[in-house]
Point group: C2
Chain length 332, copies 2
DNA sequence: GTGAAAGCGCTAACAT
DNA sequence: ATGTTAGCGCTTTCAC
């Protein structure tokens, strides 16, 4: 049988409240009794029942995490960070895979509410006003991770995509590359131009280059999409460089170029985004914008813990350092 | 305020027991009253509190999943399957990342027990007797996913690694390749030769080739490990083919060969294992053993649900079909 | 077929 | 500083 608070109380010759006080440090207990209780707890191997605890406190030690796809290196690494740091604060992770569909996201928000999760980490490729509304109405404290989280008045963690994109584009420009194809994620949902696109535009402008519509493509963030886009582009014209907004996309692009018999980077330079593990596995190795993915997850959960504790947060948006990692897919 | 069973009872003019009966279908309720209760539930948007429910039933609708690494394509895809199918059966996923360390695994087993999870999916690269013991003692029903799960008398899902490995090695042999380097995972923990290694040996034997110790290497399952192993090998001798027991490893191997100025597959053929998403992203594309990863997860959770329901399971070990996927990394 | 009541293991007033 | 007690929201005997 599992040992309960009652057993401990009886065994230690005290009331259950005293035991409760000891395990929660909620009220002063004389040192003598505390030691006695602790001893019994240790001896019996008592572990407080979190379910009973949740029932009365109406809070669990569980944090819901909604992600758009588990089989994605970015998400996986993110969860590593969320999970590991969450564990330090004694929180568990209840994982929900929405596959990026709004319907599922709403279902999960309700589910998590009924589960009385303490808080929520909401990860999305592109978040919307509607989602924020739904989460706010549920009264679940949340921290967001999304490319466009900056556009909302919510707690969020990420990098400065504008700067990163600007710096990357400028790097290509400095290498003498002019005709730069930009591949962005499909923008349905997003309010305005993405930060990344803005950064791209700013860099071009500094070089007095106009944004050519033919040089801005969009699609989902998969390698096959990158492959198809690039294949089609190469049938019509040949850019000098491609800036893809994630690594998989970039690899798809690179493969399309390679399969066409062209060389990367000699004929066309390619740069990716994220620096997931595959970025250094390709040949040529991919030059890419490194996001500190694990840290984003870690900081995110720390932020949530703070919010849950009612601590004051100076800035709702936290931006971590990024880095343009120079490898072999951009001409030197 | 959230609406409780009491509210529904009052509103419907019945007792809470009756409400409980209709929501659980646990005992007959007159149709008239049932309709009335259902109507109130619908109108008020009542959702039973799963926490309170767990407290009394001592079971939750949560399934614990212990994995060795989230940022791994194999694991990610597996979780997709587990999560999606689990959801169908109304189970949630409580995710635990053990980083492959025994200590964490044991901590999680205890944690999950205290959380009163309904069941457990235990994923490990290489499971041990000790782990099985710990899980059995915890009394949590579990299904295992591990290369060597077959060696234990537990519920498990996977593919027939012996056959797959045999077929793959034979394929290389048939292509005229003789000096085949086999890279296995580090074998501490494992009782005997792995199924995969046995398959490799059987194929060699059929061709009257003796297993050469220099041609069997081991290490962890990362690309960098594969790279290092291969780099060192190439300093001493040149195999005709390499059979790596996962894709990342294989890609590391391939890169070491490429970086040395040799060609894949002309100089050396390489074959991987798993067919994760990166397998078709490399150039040359990787020939590999496809495991139906998503399905393994899906079948696994279905099996667990059955076990939890007390259904009879004809065979504790379920093996799904695998397939040797021919791409470009093996000479034709 | 339905209701009253006990109790799951715990926390948090309220007493003392 | 410690004990008593009332629930948290639900399931489940046990009566009727």
């Amino acid at each position: 049988m599992t040992v309960t608070i009652k057993d401990v109380a009886r065994e230690a010759g005290v009331s259950i409240s005293t035991v409760s006080r000891v395990i929660n440090n909620s009220k002063p207990v004389s040192n003598e009794i505390r030691q006695k209780v602790l001893e019994v707890i240790k001896r019996t191997g008592y572990v407080p029942n979190p379910v009973a605890r949740s029932l009365v406190t109406k809070k669990s030690q569980t944090i819901g995490v909604i992600v758009p796809d588990m089989s994605n290196l970015f998400i996986g690494e993110l969860i590593n960070g969320i999970e590991e740091v969450g564990r330090i604060y004694n929180y568990d992770i209840l994982l929900c895979n929405s596959y990026g569909t709004e319907e599922e996201e709403f279902r999960y928000i309700n589910l998590l509410k009924s589960k009385q999760v303490a808080g929520l980490v909401f990860v999305s490729w592109n978040m919307t006003e509607k989602q924020v509304k739904a989460i706010e109405e549920s009264n679940i404290k949340a921290v967001y991770i999304s490319k466009n989280a900056k556009d909302f008045d919510v707690y969020s963690v990420g990098i400065n995509h504008f700067d990163a994109s600007y710096e990357t584009t400028k790097h290509l420009l400095e290498k003498g590359l002019r005709k730069i194809l930009f591949i962005r994620s499909s923008i349905e949902n997003t309010i305005a131009d993405s930060e990344r696109f803005k950064g791209y535009k700013k860099a071009l402008k500094e070089y007095d280059i106009e944004v050519d519509k033919d040089y801005v493509k969009q699609g989902d963030m998969t390698s096959s999409c990158g492959y198809e886009i690039m294949k089609k582009v190469l049938e019509n014209y040949t850019p000098e460089a491609v800036f893809a907004t994630n690594d998989e996309l970039a690899i798809g692009v690179m493969n399309a170029i390679l399969d066409k018999g062209l060389d990367v980077p000699k004929d066309i330079s390619v740069v990716g985004y994220d620096d997931t593990r595959i970025a250094s596995l390709t040949r040529p190795k991919l030059t890419t914008v490194r996001q500190p993915i694990y840290d984003i997850g870690a900081v995110c959960i720390r932020m949530l813990v703070k919010v849950l504790a009612g601590e004051e947060i100076s800035d709702k948006r936290v931006e971590l350092p990024y880095k343009l990692v120079l490898r072999d897919s951009v001409i030197d």
